[in-house]
């Protein structure tokens, strides 16, 4: 059971129609999420992390389309569902959302409806997917809030979102997302909008829930420290592609892609003596005129003639893949 793959993404391409010109935000992403594991997806803003998550949930904006590839979700019964084939607003998709795959968002301030007490909002999600009375749903909502360590949960059920602090709101969001015990939780930068001490609390809570319920989590973030703490596996994304993919130990210990190395070098370490943090030179190319070949070549120290071709994913060691022509050189110097 432990290593069963419950979500398999294969060669996913997602594009947007901007002024009738298709732009590819995700080009050929493949990864798998195993039952009860945490997959960290790291990368800078605009690299396609969120678009990947939204593709899985079929929550892309109007002009977004999955153009190629497949997303296969395996039910607890073993039934396989190809999510990209479902109608976006169809019943089947709605049954999966919230019940089987749930999501929490970056900004807890705006992801709760300001006109309803939070108890109602949690209960609504339960009642949407399960046949329970309002009272039972509210009772479960109270239990969830207690699990998430919200003080005097019973009284707070009737409170409105504006009566909560940011960290508390994010807990409420987690409560709504976890209300129906989803098998997969997609967390889209769940702590980015919170301050550091609250971040640690939220992460601790998510770990606790994950342990207790065996939920698989897809954690999207640009915080390397967070990934190191939570994830079992990590996928590093750059310009819509996964450039490095492997277990957390493999990637953190011996990063093979120059971009991953750059990201890790840019993390501040307590007590470091350098005046300035390392930064990757140059800036991300625009999606509109995507460079031919390896997108990172223009910023890469190890770039050679070979980089004019898009690199294929190579296996460095079992389970550790990298998309770079010169990864050997990079690993030796990095």
């Amino acid at each position: 059971m432990k290593d069963d793959i419950i979500l398999q993404v294969e060669n996913l391409h997602t594009g947007f129609l901007v002024d009738n010109v298709p732009l590819e935000a995700v080009s050929g992403v493949s990864f798998s999420l195993k039952a009860g594991r945490v997959l960290g997806v790291v990368g800078e803003s605009g690299c396609g992390k969120s678009v990947t998550a939204h593709s899985i949930m079929q929550l892309l904006p109007k002009y977004g389309r999955i153009t190629e590839g497949s997303i296969t979700y395996t039910r607890a019964t073993g039934e396989k569902i190809e999510i990209q084939k479902l109608r976006r607003t169809g019943n089947q998709m709605r049954q999966i959302r919230g019940k089987e795959i749930s999501m929490i968002f970056q900004d807890p301030m705006s992801s709760l409806n300001p006109v309803y007490p939070i108890g109602d909002q949690i209960a609504e999600n339960i009642r949407e997917h399960e046949k329970v009375t309002k009272r039972e749903a509210l009772d479960r909502a109270r239990k969830l809030l207690e699990d998430l360590e919200i003080p005097s949960a019973a009284e707070r059920l009737g409170d409105y979102p504006h009566q909560f602090s940011g960290g508390m709101k994010q807990r409420v969001m987690i409560a709504i997302a976890m209300a129906c015990n989803p098998r997969i939780l997609i967390a889209d930068e769940p702590t980015t909008a919170l301050d550091v001490t609250i971040q640690a609390q939220i992460i601790a809570l998510m770990k606790k829930l994950q342990r207790e319920h065996g939920t698989s989590i897809m954690m999207i973030t640009h915080n390397m420290g967070l990934v190191a703490e939570m994830a079992d596996e990590i996928a590093v994304m750059y310009m819509g592609r996964i450039v490095e993919y492997g277990s957390i130990r493999q990637v953190m210990k011996s990063p093979a892609h120059p971009y991953t190395q750059g990201l890790l070098k840019a993390v501040p370490v307590l007590g470091m003596k350098k005046d300035r943090l390392y930064s990757i030179k140059g800036s991300t190319p625009s999606l509109v005129d995507r460079p031919a070949g390896c997108e990172f070549a223009s910023r890469c120290e190890y770039a050679t003639e070979a980089c004019r071709q898009v690199p294929r994913a190579v296996e460095v060691e079992p389970g550790h893949q990298v998309r770079c022509w010169n990864y050997k050189e990079a690993t030796d110097n990095g």
């Binding site: 992801s111 300001p114 006109v115 009737g158």
Partner: protein, 286 residues
Amino acid sequence: MKNKKSRNTQGMRQWKKFKRNKMAVIALIVLGILIFASAFAPLLTSYDPEAISLTERTLAPSKTHLLGTDKVGRDVFTRLLYGGRISILIGLTGALGGAIIGAALGCLGGYFGGLLDRFLLRLSELFTTFPQTILVLILVAFMGQGVWNLFIVFWCTGWMGTYRMTRAKILSLREETYVLACQAFGISNRSIMFRHILPNAAGPVIVNITLSTAGYVLQESALSFLGLGVPSSTPTWGNIFNAAKALDVVQAYPWLWLAPGIAISLFVLSVNIIGDGLRDALDPNQ
């Protein structure tokens, strides 16, 4: 049990907020009296609102006739009470009906967009560009006089304001993260539209309902005044006011038009003030 308590306190909080607005409370009392008096008219007066008494024409207010009698000897106070029933009913149902149609169409158009939205927008523009009074006149001319016909006329001509307001509000609200969150939790489109987005747009809609309630009472009066509203045998505030068409009434019998005038003004004012108070009390962001 605890849940129930917290839900009560929530309603209590809104009631407390409303109570703090003194004007709104007074308006609520006035409105209550008006509605109560109309509803229980037979208990408050022994006269028949349509009984004509040629011996008691145009009597000034006295103990037997509190607000005097009109030109055919009908008791004005009695007619005012019975007339309130229909006037208030027309005002409230006209406004509510228009608002419900407008809000529902605005929700649909604003949320789904596309062809449906464009069609509804054009339809509302068509209705708006046509002068409303003339539209009402035409419809009444086609359908004849009568309370039900007035309802239909008001519903057909009164939904555009609410529709545009709701649509505009929903266009911006549907981009909010909580709408995306609702979708991510598998909540149905209908529920997102009407249960999640619409209440956020409710403030202006409620105010609009109260404003147009007043408007419809006035419009009913105006149409009745022109002889196009409710048949003149049925007492409504507008029909009573109708008496002021004659110059001698304006000059010699002020009680005939002053009484319905004051009743209309009181009703309209109190409904507007209550609307203001409600908007403030229901807004959870305040």
